[in-house]
């Protein structure tokens, strides 16, 4: 196998909220172009970790580098090079599809012809051109999520962070969402995704399983199933999650 380029490097990341340790000594590497899954039950610390990596949350300690930049001192440089989409749907309901795309493109620094071309490209990729003047509030959830994802990619970031992107949508929409994820990964974008759907873990190149703020396992889905002698990721997860204090 060729030598892989490291795009996210985390050593001994700790995040405490008062006495509560949300992330307990996380250490991992993410390689360029891979789909890296973060699995765990609710409250296992996935969201905390992804928020730290995307510069929304201050880590307590640990060495963190994202896209080659330091997560303490170079947060705005990190932010210019990553995309982020959260479980909480966050487009403007009272703006149209086009206005939303334009606004986020604008604050990522796009303008003029480039911005206009990017908007048209995005709309046609999403097959939403004829709905460009519809308010977000009138769109079905699945569409909103695909739009959110595209907007998070508007500035062509090298890494995209997805925090439980498929929460609450039907299996068909989830499938088409994962097709989008694969297509950006094929174009070389690194995808960092958290989920608690175990079937989605199978779509990842490598997965990390978090239990109580710690990393319990990190490998490709195939290797994990072999190690734990399980038929599915579901079984692997249940075996590990049983150890949890909180479960």
């Amino acid at each position: 196998m060729e030598k892989k380029e490291i795009i996210i490097e985390v050593e001994n990341l700790v995040k405490k909220f008062g006495q509560f340790v949300a992330n307990d000594n996380l250490t991992f590497k993410v390689f360029k172009g891979e789909i890296f899954g973060f699995l765990g039950a609710n409250g296992a610390g996935k969201t905390t970790a992804i928020r730290i990596l995307s510069g929304l949350l201050e880590p307590t300690s640990g060495k963190i580098s994202v896209a080659g930049y330091n997560a303490y001192s170079q947060r705005d440089l990190i932010k210019a090079n990553i995309g982020y989409m959260s479980q909480k749907f966050s487009l403007y309901d009272d703006l149209t599809v086009r206005e939303n795309i334009r606004f986020f493109g604008g604050i990522y620094g796009l303008y003029g012809k480039i911005l206009k071309a990017r908007i048209d490209e995005l709309l046609s990729d999403l097959k939403m051109t004829e709905f460009k003047d519809d308010l977000i509030s009138s769109l079905p959830l699945g569409w909103k999520q695909r739009l959110s994802f595209s907007i998070a990619m508007i500035h062509k970031p090298v890494i995209i962070f997805l925090d439980e992107p498929t929460g609450g949508v039907d299996p068909i929409t989830r499938r088409s969402f994962w097709e989008m994820i694969h297509s950006v990964a094929n174009q070389g974008t690194t995808v960092f995704v958290t989920t608690h759907y175990m079937d989605e873990a199978e779509y990842c190149d490598r997965v990390t399983i978090m239990v109580d703020g710690r990393i319990e396992a990190l490998d490709s889905p195939a290797n994990l199933k072999k190690t734990f002698n399980a038929n599915s990721m579901d079984e692997v997860f249940v075996m590990l999650a049983r150890k949890a204090k909180s479960a």
């Binding site: 929304l56 990553i82 982020y84 966050s90 009272d94 703006l95 606004f103 986020f104 604050i107 990522y108």
Partner: protein
Amino acid sequence: MRAILFIIQKEFLQIFRNKTMLPIIFLLPIIQLLILANAATFEMKNINISVVDYDNSRISREVISHFDASTFFTIIPTEQSVEKALELVHSNRTDLVMVIPNGFEKDIDNSIAPKVQLLVNSINGMGASLAYAYSSSILMNFTKNIAIKKLNVNIQTPPTISTQTSYWYNPELKYSHFMVPGILVILVTIIGMFLTALNLVREKELGTIEQINVTPIKRYQFIIGKLVPFWIIAMFELAFGLLVGKLLFDIPINGSLTLLFSFAGVFLVLALGGGLLLSSISSSQQQVMFVAFFFMIVFVLMSGIFTSTESMPNWAQIFNRINPLYYFMKVIRMVLVKGANLSDIRESFISVSILAVTMLSFAIFRYKKTS
């Protein structure tokens, strides 16, 4: 810099798409001015007076008729007993009881100083002192006339000092000339500060702010982008309010409007910056409303809208140095009514500029993209 323009454009799209916004911007000033400028007045037109006349003489009836003839007083009939008249005061049916003692006419005939008693309902202290002042002046005039009559016409009356009063800046003592500018101050502050504060915290509630915090936008760009749209709306509101005040109340505009709007521009940076600061430390619209309301009430009542700030205790005057509304209240009245120029309001201008810069820096500093 371009990012700021994108934020401003987005805010305006959202503001004008919101169906309640236009009525707020246009109806609020008209309603506020109509109600407050007419209702919140210190002029007293209808003072209810009850007279207990124990003397029941020609001259006591003459006193009563003087009150009856005055436009300020309405006579409320009462039984001829102080206790009964005081019951009327208790039940709030009369504001003032005048007691004319037995022997009133006789005292006058014998050239002994006549006495009457005034019992004033002082629940409203301001109204009480006015009622007292009006009735004393009627009584004074009355006794002066009697004295002249008694001393006979061909005898020279003793010289008295006669005062010629001319009321500067507001010759007709129109209350609306005082109140309308004051109400305009409150209006633009509320519109500007509340809208700004609610807007930012709403993005927090919806979670959309997260999507902005994850972009490389600079903090000052975001804060300025949020401030400018509401600054423009508040400035427009001031212009619109002035127009309404001019048309409906014929308020004077004696000073330079450029000066007034320059001052308002700086003042609004302060007020809106305060709104942004407030919303960046709050987590819900409810919280913002409560805190903003608290500060508004304190600042408004201390600002001198109803009462003169010079007669406030020392600590209050010191407090007013950080009260933005105090400065604006003073400046708008000075410029509109008095026609003050820049050198007259220089101190206020400098103070508000310092406060504005401080507040804006604080709002930018306090807004955190990383928690």
